[in-house]
């Protein structure tokens, strides 16, 4: 008998089209899995009743041959996407009761193709974090267990931790995440699934609660490269409501996946391998072999600005966050804590509503933008960001794509209590570069570390090279023969 929660989206679509399964059964199976795996704390607001109603409509559409591209497919959305009439907290107490009166463009696009939202997914508060330990609603648990200590609870990565954990645990067939410095690719790597951060401007940011607007980008997570491509294809596209949205034709990524990579030039930047754990080194070597075996040419290259990316990121992202989060002041929406004056009300509301990490980043951002420090920190960071982009541009004259590890290590324990923020920030050392340069990056599960935990390989390409990334990623996927979680 078909285990409905273990199907890929492509396979489920085929079975739905043939009438061999119904969307209602498919959705119900995933809702049962959600209930059974409640302990992962992946969902903040389930949309079970609505999902079942929509499944009935999808089944009717299959019967009368009007099914759309994602008809009846259960997905789930990170809680920083505004969903009309469905609570959207962004993982924060300050938005505990916020019910948006409008829908984000990317979720609207998916809904219009028949996708069914199972619910809103847990995340680091305002997408600030790399372990999903900074949610006001408690941490998300990684469904993977270490062979060394199976009782140890592991982080799923962050900030799209609920998205990655729910896809890996077969609670949903795919999920929406957002990536500002690695928040799709790092959790995808920690949970053994695929995740792509598209080119900046490919997906609309309208209705996605802003963290750092010049770096934020929405993207999908799924269990296969093909499914990830399918979701991206239907969420991307020009949106007049987002001034940074770019008007380009979105290719049929899924049907255009081409495994003939003969002659593809793959660069391996040496800076990404310095000091890397032997597990990661071995995996990159395997990645090189899989790509070489299919005819790719491997070239060692240097991206000298790599070590500058994280310090630059931790100026630009908090600076933009301090400005974006100024809107949460208890006036128009969200939590209000009374005060005798307007200023006192602002400060009381923000003290009560924001968590520790969010306050820390707002403080850093406010400091680097303040009089006397703006040029020394912010303007300088913008100029170095330009150098990083130029560095990538030069690299892409010589090679078509870059192969790197996604993360320095596999998932760590929730109780490891990394108290030093700088140590925590280093999780994004291989991913933040793509956000600064505005280029796409995909993480593909490629193997396990010495504790049996998943590790991903990352492919980076020039702007709008998503198709190329899907092609190369599918070679790594085939080579790795990665087995996801059973059960």
């Amino acid at each position: 008998m078909t285990q409905l929660t273990h199907l890929t989206i492509s396979k489920a679509k085929a079975l739905l089209t043939k009438g061999e399964i119904s969307s209602k059964d498919l959705v119900q199976a995933h809702l049962d899995a959600m209930e059974e795996k409640k302990g992962l704390n992946a969902f903040l607001t389930p949309c079970s009743d609505d999902a079942l109603k929509k499944a009935d409509l999808s089944d009717a559409k299959y019967k009368n041959n009007t099914a759309r591209a994602l008809e009846g497919i259960p997905l789930a959305y990170k809680d920083n996407f505004c969903t009309k009439d469905v609570r959207t907290t962004c993982g924060s107490k300050i938005l505990e009761n916020f019910v948006p009166p409008y829908e984000a463009t990317v979720t609207d696009n998916l809904n219009n193709q028949g996708a069914i939202n199972l619910g809103k997914l847990n995340m680091d508060e305002f997408a600030m974090g790399s372990g999903n330990i900074h949610s006001a609603y408690g941490p998300v648990i990684n469904p993977w267990k270490s062979t060394e200590d199976p009782s140890k609870k592991l982080v799923p990565g962050g900030s799209s931790g609920g998205s990655a954990a729910s896809v890996a645990a077969n609670i949903t067939m795919g999920a929406l995440g957002s990536d500002t410095g690695g928040s799709i690719r790092q959790p995808a790597s920690f949970c053994g699934i695929v995740g792509i951060k598209p080119t900046y401007g490919l997906c609309s940011r309208y209705g996605m609660i802003a963290f750092a607007s010049s770096l934020d980008q929405a993207g999908p997570l799924a269990r296969t490269v093909e499914d990830t491509a399918l979701i991206l294809q239907h969420m991307a596209g020009f949106d007049p409501k987002d001034a940074t949205s770019i008007d380009v034709k979105i290719p049929d990524y899924t049907n255009n996946i081409n495994k003939n990579i003969k002659g593809l030039k793959v660069g391996v930047p040496t800076e990404y391998l310095e000091g890397l754990h032997p597990d990661g080194q071995a995996l990159v070597q395997k990645g090189i072999e899989w790509l070489k075996a299919e005819g790719a040419e491997i070239k060692e290259i240097s991206l000298k600005t790599t070590p500058l990316a994280l310090p630059v990121y931790y100026i630009i992202a908090p600076a933009e966050a301090s400005s974006n989060l100024a809107r949460f002041d208890g006036v128009r929406y969200g939590e209000r804590v009374k005060g005798d004056s307007l200023d006192e009300m602002y400060a009381n509301s923000r003290e009560e509503g924001f968590g520790k990490e969010v306050k820390r980043r707002i403080m850093i951002g406010t400091y680097v933008l303040s009089a006397g420090y703006y040029d020394a920190f912010y303007t300088k960071a913008l100029k170095i960001k330009h150098l990083i982009t130029e560095d990538f541009n030069k690299a892409f004259y010589d090679v078509d794509v870059l192969l790197t590890p996604t993360t320095p290590t596999a998932a760590f324990g929730i109780d490891e209590k990394i108290t030093d923020p700088v140590t925590m920030y280093l999780n994004d050392v291989y991913t933040a570069t793509a956000n600064l340069a505005g280029i796409p990056g995909i993480s593909v599960p490629a193997g396990l570390d010495h504790n049996g935990l998943p590790l991903g390989l990352q492919l980076l390409g020039p702007r709008f090279s998503e198709q190329l990334l899907f092609n190369a990623a599918s070679i790594i996927e085939d080579g790795a023969e990665f087995k996801g979680l059973r059960g």
Binding site: P307, G334, R350, F354, M363, Y367, L387, V422
Partner: protein, 95 residues
């Protein structure tokens, strides 16, 4: 770069975030560590880069100049912590 207690209080005031004494000390230490880590950028020479180099290369798309008359006042006020006369209500700000 060490941030003084007075600087942390000034930044918190600018950010409109109340901090207690314990937080002033802990945030002061953490932010000092982060800024010290960021100081590695001081050695990078960016004198050859002009601010105009940072302008994005894409041409922004134009959209038709069509007025949108959708009224969402009621829907927006649904989320207001306090409202009256179709407006957001806040504590008195002018004496």
């Amino acid at each position: 770069m060490k941030l003084t207690e007075a600087e942390i209080k000034r930044v918190a005031q600018l950010a409109r975030i109340n901090l207690n004494q314990e937080e002033i000390i802990s945030y002061g230490q953490e932010i000092t560590n982060i800024l010290t880590w960021i100081e590695q950028l001081n050695d990078i020479d960016v004198s050859h880069i002009c601010l105009t180099d940072l302008v994005p290369q894409e041409t922004m798309s134009e959209r038709p100049d069509v007025p949108n008359t959708d009224s969402m006042v009621d829907a927006i006020l649904e989320n207001a912590p306090q409202s009256s006369f179709n407006m957001f209500s806040v504590p008195k700000m002018v004496e």
